[in-house]
Amino acid sequence: MLFPRLATAALATALFALPAGAETLPMPTGPVILTISGEIENTNGDGTAAFDLDMLRALGESEIVTETIWTPATHTFTGVRLKTLLDHVGAEGDEITAMAINDYGVTIPVEDATETGPIVAYEMDGAQMSRRDKGPLWVIYPFSSSSDYRTEVIYSRSIWQLDRMTIEE
């Protein structure tokens, strides 16, 4: 059985630990793949924080090696830690409403976002995930690390083709 091996690479969160004021985030230069709105402190336009892939990559990479019920084998997922992302935008809410391209929506409690919790993955097995391949962003919990992560609720929160998040009180 494989245990998730957490990538030790990303502790870059420290760089963004200090909350920034409004309009403090840089503007995306490539195609926007994630938009965060709601109760956030740091934005880059009209109360939202828009991210392209490079901006996400710049937040530091984390890895989760795990099986999923939707894929045939064990995969290595690379992405940004959800907690890091929330810290980065200065989220001050309890719930995250995550929406997919096809408008599938799910509520993720902020408590889920821990140091060892879910990541917002953009690579699977070193390759960027295409939209056809559940990309560009997929919320991945370390399913294999604990049975606590192998529940219907967690599976439902593992939203793929993610493109919007709203932080709510």
Partner: protein, 815 residues
């Protein structure tokens, strides 16, 4: 049982836990991701895709084309999930699911060049896409329904599995509860039992304590070192210590008398070291113990060792037996006194036998001799009257002695084997002449089958029959006296009934009841002639009862009486029994006889009788002389007095028998006035062959000589006729007595120092003095003899008294 229940519980719990864990794990790890939603979502996304195509075909908006690409990607992604996701692997194995999925994926893959190609191509290919999509729709429909059906079934299975698990859980819970109930009830029972036992133990302890405290015996508990652990109320009372004073102290210093301490310590040490017990566990033992005031008193005690928990203790039960010991002592003293009294009585009887019968012997013997001398007719009549009176006196003395002996228990049964016919014949023979004197005819005979040799106390039977026959003779004139014997079988065994039937005056009914009582005389004094002691039938009754029989009388006054007796009959083998002599003893003259007798008078009498019967007589005056005479010459018979100075008859007999003398195996017959059976036993033990009671009679001598000398060869020489005495034998005896008496007093006057010799010579003369009518002199001489024997200081005074008695005595006379 309990262990099984416990084991079952454990197993059930283990099983339950594993079941629940498994179930929980199953529930925790959701393997389905809301599959229904996913399947319907696939249809929704397909419709979105299809819709996007349709929209794009109707407008030229490039955004519409873009929307087609997005919807394609979303749908493609969904189908990818269904086609490769591990969650759907089972589902894909079903043809109705896997096949359409793979077909849809092939079709989607085929669309990719168009989708990824230029927008112009895409627009141009929209119609193709729509056609393809139409083909996909029924396939997808099939996928959705199959998937939903599969997951519905799986969900059912899962539900039923959960239901089964829950049912099991319920059952096991019930079982567990039941097991717990059983365990609980068992625990309660055990606890109740324990409580009850505890209560019982407490009760038992209380009871035991009460018993200990109320015990009449002292109970002292100590450890093996002797340290006192418990001391009950009785112990406090007996030893006069309070419990608190002695607890913890040592038994030795408290209860053991000083004299016994060393032995006690040794015993305790021995028990500790070797485990050897001499007192412990040996039941009741009598010892002595000590009270607080130092008094030593006897106790009876029993000690047992017991295990009290880890420790071994000794439990001693003691009883103060001072009172018992005192009463035992009194009893023993009383018994000793009684025994001493009995002994004195027996000695008195023996004295009577000797002291009365010896002078009677002299009297009757001399009368017999006198009868043979030339007497005037009147003198002859007087002599015969005296003989009759003397015989009656002897009979009375014998009768009184019989009763006294019987009452004192001295007389014991002496069974012997006898021939009944001879016994009866002898009685008839001996009594026939007396019967004939009254004109009576006497007969005896058997009724029915006769018995010959029997084992019976013959001497008593003979005495009883003589008494009955004598009575019959006495009270019958010119009639018939019949002795009938008859055997009769009874429940207790065979009995012998003897009836003495007379045709005499009979006995009145009221007299019949008391004839067997002591000192009862009945009947006509005319007939009785001589009044008896009234003891005869009393003795007969005692004898018969002692033989295990009964006696009675039936009588009709004026017609006669039947005295009957019934005794157990024990038949015996008579072979080897000496023939009894029924006929008068034949005269066997010319025997060589050693006569041993210390009393000069009796010696003279016996010698006269023997020489008168034609025998040769050698005399010896004591045992030593007898032994000397017997060793040098073989006699045909030795007649041996018993009471003699220096060596008595028994000692002399033993010496002769054990020596190598010429006469060591000739018959020795005891001459004694002591007719007690024990005396006869002692004669036999000493080696004597027979017994001849004093006073001697000619007939007795004849019987003895005939019995012991019949087979012996007669002496070669005929006995010389004794020389005709110049003077009468009586005168010679009297003179000799006078000489002896004078010689004695002359010798005593010289003041001899040899007391034994004084006693002996005084005894000799005393024996003669009675026979010569000088009873006072005899008594005085007996006193001298006793004083000399005892070495008493008043010996001189008794001698003086004897001399006075001699000087004042009437002239010696034998008449």
């Amino acid at each position: 049982m309990l262990a099984a229940v416990g084991l079952l519980c454990v197993l059930a719990i283990t099983f339950l836990v594993s079941e629940i864990v498994q179930e929980m794990r199953f529930l925790n790890s959701a393997s389905s991701d809301n599959v229904h939603w996913v399947l319907s979502q696939a249809e929704v996304e397909f419709l979105e895709f299809h819709n996007a195509i349709d929209l794009a075909r109707q407008s030229d908006d490039p955004q519409a084309l873009e929307h087609v690409v997005v919807e394609f990607d979303v749908f493609y992604s969904r189908m990818m999930t269904l086609g490769t996701g591990s969650l759907y692997a089972d589902l894909r194995a079903i043809g109705n699911f896997g096949y359409p999925v793979s077909v849809i994926r092939e079709k989607l893959d085929a669309m990719i060049p168009l989708i990824d190609g230029s927008r112009a191509d895409l627009r141009a290919g929209l119609g193709t896409l729509a056609a393809e999509a139409d083909e996909i729709r029924p396939l997808l429909r099939r996928v959705a329904t199959t998937g939903l059906q599969f997951f519905a079934e799986r969900s059912d299975e899962s539900r039923s599995s959960v239901a089964v698990t829950m049912l099991r859980l319920a059952l096991i819970t019930v079982a567990l509860v039941l097991a717990l109930v059983v365990l609980l009830s068992h625990t309660r029972r055990v606890s109740n039992q324990t409580e009850r036992r505890g209560q019982e133990l407490a009760d038992a302890y209380a009871r035991l304590n009460t018993i200990l405290q109320t015990s009449l015996d002292a109970v002292v508990v100590s450890d093996l070192q002797g340290k006192i652990l418990n001391f009950n109320a009785a112990a406090e009372r007996i030893f006069q210590y309070s419990r608190d004073e002695v607890i913890g102290r040592n038994i030795a210093e408290v209860l053991i008398p000083d004299d016994y301490r060393a032995a006690h310590a040794a015993g305790m040490a021995r028990m500790r070291d070797t485990g050897e017990h001499r007192v412990v566990g040996h039941g009741r033992i009598r010892l002595e113990s000590k009270r607080r005031n130092g008094q030593i008193f006897p106790v009876e005690l029993a000690i047992e060792k017991a295990q009290a928990g880890e420790e071994e203790v000794m439990v001693a039960f003691l009883r103060d037996i001072s009172h018992r010991v005192a009463s035992e002592k009194e009893l023993v003293e009383a018994r000793d006194k009684a025994l001493a009294g009995e002994k004195a009585k027996a000695e008195f009887l023996a004295m009577m036998t000797h002291e009365i019968r010896t002078p009677l012997n002299g009297l009757l013997g001399n009368l017999a001799l006198l009868d043979k001398t030339a007497l005037s007719p009147a003198q002859g009549r007087y002599v015969r009257n005296m003989q009759i009176s003397g015989g009656v006196l002897m009979h009375h003395v014998d009768t009184v002695l019989d009763v006294a002996r019987f009452e004192s228990g001295v007389s014991v049964a002496r069974e012997e084997v006898v021939h009944l016919g001879e016994l009866f014949q002898n009685i008839v023979d001996s009594q026939a002449s007396a019967a004939e004197a009254n004109g009576n005819q006497m007969l005896w005979g058997w009724v029915g089958e006769p018995a010959e040799w029997v084992r019976i106390d013959a001497s008593r039977l003979r005495q009883v029959l003589l008494n009955l026959v004598g009575n019959a003779t006495k009270f019958t004139r010119d009639g018939r006296i019949l002795i009938e014997a008859e055997r009769s079988a009874e429940a207790t065994g065979e009995m012998l009934e003897i009836r003495v039937i007379d045709s005499g005056i009979g006995i009145s009914e009221e007299d019949q009841e008391r004839v067997f009582n002591d000192f009862q005389t009945v009947g006509d004094a005319n007939f009785a002639g001589q009044a008896g002691t009234g003891l005869g039938l009393g003795i007969a009754r005692r004898f018969v009862e002692a033989m295990g029989g009964e006696i009675g009388v039936e009588s009709t006054p004026g017609e006669g009486s039947v005295f009957w007796l019934r005794v157990p009959l024990v038949l015996a083998d008579g072979s080897g029994q000496p023939e009894q002599h029924s006929a008068p003893a034949p005269e066997t003259p010319g025997r060589d006889i050693l006569l041993v007798e210390d009393n000069e008078i009796n010696l003279e009498l016996a010698r006269e009788m023997l020489t008168g019967l034609g025998h040769r007589v050698t005399e010896a005056r004591d045992g030593e002389q007898a032994v000397a005479a017997a060793s040098g010459h073989r006699f045909d018979l030795i007649l041996m007095d018993i009471r003699m100075p220096r060596l008595d008859g028994l000692g002399a007999t033993r010496a002769i028998r054990s020596g190598a003398g010429a006469s060591r195996d000739v018959p020795i017959v005891a001459l004694s006035a002591n007719v007690l059976p024990e005396a006869r036993d002692s004669f036999t033990e000493a080696g004597m062959s027979g017994f001849l009671p004093k006073p001697l009679t000619e007939d007795g001598l004849l019987q003895v000589i005939a019995r012991f000398c019949s087979s012996a060869k007669p002496a070669p020489e005929p006995a010389p006729q004794p020389p005709e005495p110049e003077i009468s034998p009586m005168d010679r005896l009297r003179r000799r007595y006078e000489d002896e008496t004078r010689t004695l007093f002359d010798w005593l006057a010289t003041g001899p120092a040899d007391r034994a010799e004084i006693a002996h010579r005084a005894h000799q003369v005393a024996g003669s003095a009675a026979a010569f009518g000088q009873s006072e002199l005899r008594e005085a001489l007996v006193a001298v003899e006793m004083a000399a024997d005892r070495n008493a200081p008043e010996l001189g005074a008794t001698i003086a008294a004897a001399r006075a008695a001699w000087e004042n005595a009437p002239a010696p006379t034998l008449s």
